[in-house]
Assembly symmetry: C2
Homo-oligomer: 201 residues x 2
Amino acid sequence: MKTEKKIRIEDYRRADYPIEPLFLERWSPRAMSGEDLTEQDFFMLFEAARWAPSTYNEQEWLFLYARRDTPSWPVFFDLLVEGNRAWCKNAALLVVIVAHKVFNKTGQPNPVHLFDCGNAFENLALQGSSMGLVVHGMQGFDYEKARVVLKVPDDYAVAAMFAAGRPGDPSDLPENLRSREVPTGRKPVRDIICEGAFRKK
Amino acid sequence: MKTEKKIRIEDYRRADYPIEPLFLERWSPRAMSGEDLTEQDFFMLFEAARWAPSTYNEQEWLFLYARRDTPSWPVFFDLLVEGNRAWCKNAALLVVIVAHKVFNKTGQPNPVHLFDCGNAFENLALQGSSMGLVVHGMQGFDYEKARVVLKVPDDYAVAAMFAAGRPGDPSDLPENLRSREVPTGRKPVRDIICEGAFRKK
């Protein structure tokens, strides 16, 4: 068995203000082991997503999923761009998040259907991180093909994909991804806020 | 001083799977006290947002903000629909989240610019909740007016607004909102997931 180099978050990230540790500890690894998730793990991820906020509590997210070694797996896997296939082959779960574009009650456009899906995904990503799992969001897939092969109706938007699984050995990643298998930094907080009207940062 | 009825989450919500408590504990109150946030509180909120995931680590979010008792406050407040003004008048902070629609490097469309803003907002909302603050997302505002008065350029989308502040007394809310000042429930987890292709739930 290979020895995994354990990532120490404090070697890569420092919070400038004292926030809850889980925000800093969550990052987006790619190395996965190819093992399946337990039923409990699987449902814990979506349970976290479930409690996210949405406008009028619309819960306009729907998670289309494929677990590895099922007939749906190749359908979802084939949506990915080549670069994502290289590491998603060891995922346990591939998910396409779709969003109801209109309000259930009125049929009027819901301006935050994609935004709200982000709320739900982030809960899921944080929960996965706290469980020691890999959760990695993606836009590197064929949105139009996803709509066709997954029969997504016109009143739903294809929002994003993500892969999830058990952590694996980074040395099994393709060379170009191996050096990127570390937590990324961020802009200073003052670069993401702006008092009053828009000013380019 | 009025006695606040303390909300006990367990009276309103039950997780079906054992998730991190902060997801269940976060909800969207409206009652705020009108007090300001400290500098530390203010920056802690955005610090949490800062560490959210985004495609290619693009961090395409920008938080335009107004603090109460500043010249920007009425500009932001006037964007809100009447129903939101009724309770946002006691907020400490109003924020319009804008999203860069194209990738910095290539100028190509970024399909997850709104989704990623949701990731960042959810971090901020969870952090605020853990600090005992109110954070409440909104789409009930004039998106087009926001673009004009806040000088949002064409390559940025107006994603959403939120209000934040110190918790207040629910009995000060307008009557129609008072009874809604409790944590909302959610659909069962099986209603937000779907194996394989889309099926209406």
